[in-house]
């Protein structure tokens, strides 16, 4: 108050202030100084006189837990509709949780942090699941009739594309692993001729599993799943088409490069023909060795000599030569 006054006076013109009695200003200021500089007693032996009881805060009574008012036949799905930490005043169950020494009761549900920690499934009670499934059923469609077994769907849908979704508790929804795409199909579902099949297998290398007769492409070199899928399909297409190309240098494959014995292009065919056409004249039809014999020879050389193959070879030679 007084400071306010003095400030007002300061703003007044100097003369006027002089005209006003200076004593009054003083007389008003002085008691204030006294107020400020009240003499403080040094409290050597800490006497507890300064300890004042804090004003009692009036508190409204906390209402009793609302579980008291819950009906016995209440709709629990409405009371607990979504995942939420446990709260004792909202769950009408006499729960206890916690380890105690033998004989003591476990801590009750009130002020029990253990119950708040554990993920509860109170929002996923069987009736809740049933209700919710009824609600989302309209977005589902049944599996088509006529594709019940694996054999049936494999005939119409031979290509399998495997993708993986990842769900973790992170601020980001990206996961590097999710870009991976796997495409697999049975080799028998593609149409090949001998050369193409051979070349295709060579092109895909160890992506072919001979036990299950499947080719599998796993792609993860592009950043996105869609790109990887496209890339895998591209690989499949490229390999398939490439396998039908016969490059000029493929003709130069010599006998030493052959990986299997083929009767058609070997000396033994010429030899057998020579024997069979021993007495034939120039214009006669050449007799070629029977296919059974050819097969037998291939088998003998490709699979190696064993008793069965040898015996069969003997039979075939006899048959061919009519011995």
């Amino acid at each position: 108050m007084s400071t306010g006054l003095t400030r007002v006076w300061e703003r007044l013109p100097l003369k006027k202030q002089a005209a006003q009695s200076g004593i009054r200003v003083f007389s008003q200021q002085q008691p204030e100084i006294e107020d400020e500089e009240e003499f403080r007693v040094l409290n050597l032996r800490t006497v507890k006189q300064q300890f004042q009881r804090r004003r009692e805060v009036r508190r409204d009574p906390v209402t009793p837990p609302r579980t008291n008012r819950m009906a016995v036949d209440q709709d629990w799905t409405a009371a607990w509709p979504a995942p939420r930490s446990f709260h004792p005043a909202s769950v009408p169950l006499p729960l206890r949780q916690g380890f105690t020494e033998r004989g003591a009761a476990a801590p009750s549900k009130f002020a029990n942090a253990e119950l708040m920690k554990i993920p509860n499934f109170l929002h996923l009670t069987p009736p809740a699941i049933r209700q919710q499934c009824e609600a989302i059923k309209k977005f589902c469609s049944p599996w088509p009739k006529g594709l019940e077994t694996e054999a049936k769907w494999q005939r119409h849908f031979p290509v399998e594309v495997i993708t993986t979704d990842y769900l973790q508790s992170l601020p980001t929804i990206r996961n590097l692993e999710a870009r991976r795409v796997t495409i697999s199909l049975k080799l028998s579902d593609l149409k090949f001729d001998a050369h193409a099949r051979d070349k295709f297998l060579r092109l895909v290398g160890d992506r072919y599993n001979k036990d299950t007769d499947t080719v599998t492409f796993v792609t993860d070199r592009c950043p996105l799943r869609k790109q990887n899928y496209d890339y895998a399909m591209y690989l499949l297409t490229a390999c398939y088409h490439e396998s039908f190309v016969t490059e000029p240098w493929e003709a130069s494959k010599s006998e030493a490069d052959m990986e299997v014995y083929l009767f058609e292009r070997n000396q033994s065919k010429i030899a057998a023909e020579g024997i069979l056409n021993w007495s034939a004249k120039e214009g006669d039809n050449k007799i070629s060795p029977p296919p059974a014999y050819a097969q037998c020879v291939e088998q003998l050389i490709n699979e190696g000599e064993n008793e069965y193959n040898l015996a069969k070879y003997k039979e075939e030679v006899k048959k061919m030569l009519n011995v």
Binding site: D60, V62, T63, P64, P65, R66, R69, M70, Q74, D75, T77, A78, A79, P81, H87, A89, S90, Q131, Q132, E134, A135, I136, K138, F139, P142, P144, G146, L147, A151, K152, Q154, R155, P158, P171, T172, I173, R174, S188, D189, K191, F192, D193, A194, R197, D198, K199, L201, R202, L203, G205, D206, Y208, K210, E250, K253, D257, E259, V260, L262, N302
Partner: protein, 658 residues
């Protein structure tokens, strides 16, 4: 070479087998598969069921009902934090929001701390907003973006910067800025994320639609002046802005100007003018004339009227003081619009209700037809006035027709589908429930009413003192004293205990309906009533200390005394009586004689003659009928000398002689 190199990668035998079976023929899927029996059973692949990203959530949310024991989900579900009065509801919600505002302020103030990028995809709202200053580099695209985000202040700032720099602004952009400025009247709107503020805003600030708030000569008009030649859109946005902020005369003048210049305006512009017809003309006839003129003009311009037109016309009609004219013109308008294929919204029905159901007008049953029409329908918000319907309908049900079954129908409609979204704001919601509860407690039996009461109170609606009084009256009429303890505890929680009239009626009910101890259901009742009375006594005592306006009257204290006596709490009763005795001069009025009578009877039973004599003394001092009391005391006790002497001094010798 290439082939042979690859060859080594393959197992030998497999190649042998594959080559061995070779020929020139192709192997196909069909021939290799040994399943000839079920060769080609036909199958049909179902179509994909299209759904939007939130459809499943909506479906799941549809299964969730309302739990009446739980508070609204914006409140924390903890006994300490559940609001228990209307004031608390408002305070809690608002303080939560102000906490959010504080956080936002910190984010904006220390923006350098919040520039990190954690979330993928990024959430825009979590990052600090762009700040535009005098020095920022701006171009047209940033202005466009700001307009799209409807940031009025920033958009205007950027516009001014662009003006200063002299960079050209396309006509389209200018038009959209004009629209933005006109819509918000060059004021920053209330941010959308603070829904609680919106929800409670009507409570204290009743939107007064009477004053002009349009800023004359402000940016909007400047922008408008800059647009040359004047486009119909420019006219439309300026007219609509002026009409919205009630610069009525100029809006109408502009409309006429546009009409003279043969400028084709759109329907909504005309709607906005029709809405303010009541400000342009004074009498109902003039208003209606202007309204029809405007409609005629619309038809000349081949404009198709829409829902907004219908509601605007009805709004205009609803301002007519002339009831008959309003009625007849409303009845003419409705079929016309029906013919045009304009479907009425809830706002339309709201206007119909206020046109037909006037306070001093004749009783109209238009609401019956409306409810028959729309029962069981689910509504979307289509017009700003749609949210007024439910509160008004319930008001009509209670005050105009006083019809319980209609009220139930309205309530049913409100709880159909998502109609509850249209309840408006907290003010309208409480008006709705106020009327609903008041109507029910007047018309329904007390048991049925208490069922509804239990459902609604306190989480959906907390009764105001006026409604509490109605409820108490209903209880009094039905002699349902057994509900009083429950109501009293609610009153305590809702902070109604300083209303004298409420206290009085609670006490009166309990005193006048003396419970029958024989009935098993009422055995606990005297005790409970005594508890209530004691609680009340203590509360009022405390309230008096804290200088609240409530204070005792003699009658109240007498009632409390009676109840305590009945409840067998003689100790407290004598304490209360001591209070009465001591503060005779401060307490206005005296307790009822019956109260003293019962007290004396009880003291006879408790064998405490001094209390009884004190009561007698009090009666004598206050000129009450004392002889009966004296008789009671005399017959009840065997009095000793001092007591006898006192008795004599109080009522005189003559009494003893009898």
């Amino acid at each position: 070479m290439f082939l042979s190199r690859h060859l080594r990668l393959l197992p030998r035998a497999s190649i042998a087998r594959s080559l061995g079976s070779s020929g020139a023929h192709y192997t196909t899927a069909a021939s290799s598969n040994a399943a000839p029996a079920e060769e080609d059973s036909p199958f049909e692949i179902p179509n994909r069921i299209e759904r939007t990203p939130t459809d499943i959530l909506q479906a799941l949310a549809g299964t969730v009902g309302r739990d009446h024991t739980a508070p609204h989900y914006k409140f924390h579900d903890d006994p300490f934090l559940i609001p228990m009065s209307n004031a608390a509801k408002r305070t809690y919600a608002m303080s939560k929001e102000s906490g959010r505002k504080a956080a936002k302020w910190i984010k904006e103030e220390h923006r350098e701390l919040f520039l990190h990028q954690e979330a993928q995809p990024a959430v825009e709202k979590f990052a600090p907003s762009m700040v535009y200053t005098e020095n920022s580099e701006v171009d047209e695209s940033s202005l466009q973006q700001l307009i799209a985000q409807s940031e009025v202040k920033d958009a205007v700032l950027v516009y001014n910067l662009l003006e200063q720099k002299g960079s050209p602004i396309s006509a389209d952009l200018k038009q959209s800025l004009l629209e933005l400025v006109c819509f918000h009247n060059n004021q920053e709107p209330l941010p959308e994320e603070y829904i609680e503020e919106r929800w409670f805003i009507q409570n204290n600030r009743r939107r007064d639609r009477h004053g002009k708030t349009w800023k004359d000569g402000d940016l909007a008009e400047k922008l408008y002046a800059e647009i040359e030649p004047k486009t119909p859109q420019a006219y439309a946005s300026l007219i609509r802005g002026m009409a919205k902020y009630l610069q009525c005369e100029r809006a109408y003048a502009l409309l006429q100007e546009a009409g003279e210049k043969q400028i084709q305006l759109d329907t909504n512009t005309f709607n906005s003018i029709i809405e303010i017809v009541s400000y342009l003309k004074d009498t109902a006839e003039q208003r209606w004339q202007l309204c029809t003129e405007l409609l005629q003009e619309m038809s000349q311009q081949k404009l198709r009227p829409n829902l907004g037109t219908l509601n605007a016309v009805l709004q205009c009609i609803s301002t007519f003081g002339n009831f008959k004219l309003a009625r007849s013109s409303a009845l003419q308008v409705l079929p016309e619009f029906k013919q045009l294929g304009v479907n009425p919204s809830l706002g339309t029905y709201y206007y119909l209700l206020i046109i037909f159901c006037r306070e001093r007008g004749p009783v109209s049953h238009v609401i019956v037809d409306i409810l028959n029409d729309i029962a069981g329908k689910e509504f979307q918000i289509e017009h700003p006035k749609d949210t007024y319907f439910f509160a008004t309908a319930m008001d009509v049900c209670r005050n105009h027709l006083n019809d319980k079954s209609l009220a139930k129908k309205v309530d049913e409609l409100l709880h159909t589908g998502k109609n509850y979204d249209l309840v408006g704001d907290s003010f309208k919601e409480s008006v709705y429930y106020r009327n609903y509860l008041a109507l029910l407690c007047q018309t329904e039996s007390i048991e049925d009413f208490m069922l509804t009461y239990d459902l609604l109170v306190p989480n959906i609606y907390i009764p105001e003192p006026g409604i509490m009084e109605e409820i108490l009256r209903a209880i009094e009429i039905n002699n349902a004293v057994e509900h009083v303890p429950r109501i009293w505890s609610d009153m305590v929680v809702f902070d109604h205990t300083h209303r004298e009239s409420l206290l009085l009626s609670v006490l009166r009910i309990m005193v006048d309906n003396k419970p029958n101890a024989e009935l098993p259901a009422q055995q606990q009742l005297p005790e409970q009533c005594a508890k209530v009375a004691l609680d009340m006594y203590e509360r009022v005592e405390e309230a008096m200390k804290r200088l609240r306006k409530v204070s005792f009257t003699g009658q109240m204290l007498g009632n409390i005394l009676t109840l305590l006596v009945r409840g067998g709490n003689f100790e407290k009763a004598s304490e209360v009586f001591a209070h009465i005795d001591k503060n005779q001069h401060r307490i206005p009025g005296t307790p009822a004689e019956s109260a003293l009578h019962e007290y004396v009877e009880a003291s006879v039973q408790e064998k405490s003659p001094s209390q009884a004599l004190a009561a007698l003394q009090y009666a004598v001092e206050n000129n009450m009928e004392s002889s009966a009391l004296a008789k009671l005391i005399h017959e009840g006790f065997t009095l000793n000398e001092t007591h006898l002497a006192k008795l004599k001094t109080l009522v005189g010798e003559s009494f003893l002689d009898k």
